[in-house]
Amino acid sequence: MNNFIIPSIKKITNNKLISRIGEGIIATGIKVSGFSAIIFVLMIFYFLWSEGFAVVGEVPLRVLFSSRWYPVEGYYGILPLIGGSLLVTIGATLFAVPIGLSTAIYISEIAPRWVREVLKPVIEILAGLPSVVLGFIGILALAPMLRRTLNLPTGLTALTGSILLGAIAIPTIVSVAEDALDGVPRSYRDAALAIGATRWQTIWRVTLPAARSGVLTGIMLGIGRAIGETMTVMMVTGNAPIMVRGLSALFLPTRTMTATIAAEMGEVAKGSTHYHVLFMIGIILFMISLIVNVTASLLVFRTKKRADRILS
């Protein structure tokens, strides 16, 4: 035994210097990759800014914030596009959050073990579904169905986009929220049940608040995916740049910022006004997702503090 241990200790001391150098290299590497994310974000923003800022001199603000988008003829009103993106995203959220959350609660709290073992992987497969495929389903099945059942002029509407984007966001919400609910200690539930709470009261008043930060993160990630999604909305929303005036616009065609960039980027000459405006739209999109993310982390931060207070 001794003969075996002593040489190995010697080996460690001999390799100490080398391992320390190795560790240093690894630590620096990790540090650099950690900071590289910040550098990339800054570089992306700088790139968008340098290509898009020229708009300020080229297009008067009055034109930029008007309600007509037809860049071929010099109409650069981006309000309908911002409205379209927000409308479709809000619609998707209204659709995805209740369904996603109830699915997560069902899987984590109610479903028997075997159902849970089947459901979770299936939902995660759903998350990997290419958005183009969803677009096809939208054009061929969902749009005609919505047009007939709701008696709309056309099935290519913001609502169609919202439902499909909701379907894209649901797997993300379910997956992250379920992990968070699963992470709530068993003792919380036992304590609630012991003082006479019903199962529903336990879920609504104890488990869900305890898992709040993870659940909110899941919802925000889902919304983030919905805002940035391009292909599906381009295929099913009809892309008509109609000014959004209230929720009734859900039943009309709409044009989102992402679809506009995707459809028009290929055609523009580099350095033209139209090109700069498209980059400006990119900046706005970047800002919106920044706001969503910051709000999410602020919310998570606040709930954490409250949780700390309860525990102390």
């Binding site: 295929m235 892309n239 008509a240 109609i242 065609p253 044009r255 290929g266 055609e267 000459a269």
Partner: protein
Amino acid sequence: MKKLPALFALLCLGFFAAACFFQPSDTDSQNNDQPTAHIEIKGSDTMVNLTLAWTEAYRDDHPSVSISITGGGSGTGIAALLNNTVDIANASRRIREEEIAQARNLGIEPYEIIIARDAVAIIVNHDNPINYLTLQQISDIFAGKHHNWLELGGADRPIVRASRESNSGTHMYFLEEVLRLGDPNSKLLFDPNTLLLPSSEGIIAEVRDNPNAIGYDGLGYVTPDVKVVGIGLSPEGPFIWPSIETVNQETYPISRDLYAYTNGEPQDATKFFLEWVLSEPGQEIVKELGFVSITP
């Protein structure tokens, strides 16, 4: 033991790399006597199928020439020509003055060749009782002056307009020649409710399915699933349906030329390809695909 799968994977990778490496050198030696050439074509979505058919036929006689084709719209093709990333830019509209100016700034001299002709068909759903419209009525529909088919003698249904995206040559042609009736001073625009669909197939799909819809598409793309509307210059008629005959007799009012643009006069492989396209076998394919040949 743990190393075995890794070793196996490495071996597989090795075989794969060897296969990749040896195959091209094999074919190279076969074609050594013929110089290989590559032609890059990009542009009009209307012309993608036509160009593909040309390429397939051309490849049979000229196996050494490889041709790649991408769509994306006429504007996209011309932008690519300006950036000097393609040999031929397909366009279903004529190059604009400002694009020529831009090209010259970049040291590129666009050279124009008309390679085929096309008619733009106005299409509606088969359930729509409308069979013909005047050019003025079509202009009014797309400009947003009519909102119900009742105003045009149809059923009591809302009108849904379907158009291509603005990067499409067909879109610009339709705007200039139909919506604005060829008047360069006209400032008419598409109604903001007009659906802007990313592909010709998208328009066909919407019109096939939706009895409220009206759209336009290149004649080569129109399928029997949709109804082609006859067009007249006055309400009394005569109403003309698009066909190879009516386009060549110049009686169908909305037909156009399809262009190929190159940087300067075409050279070498590009030149031989375009010469073949303009020859009789090339133009025979134009007719087969529902377009109109330039040689009547």
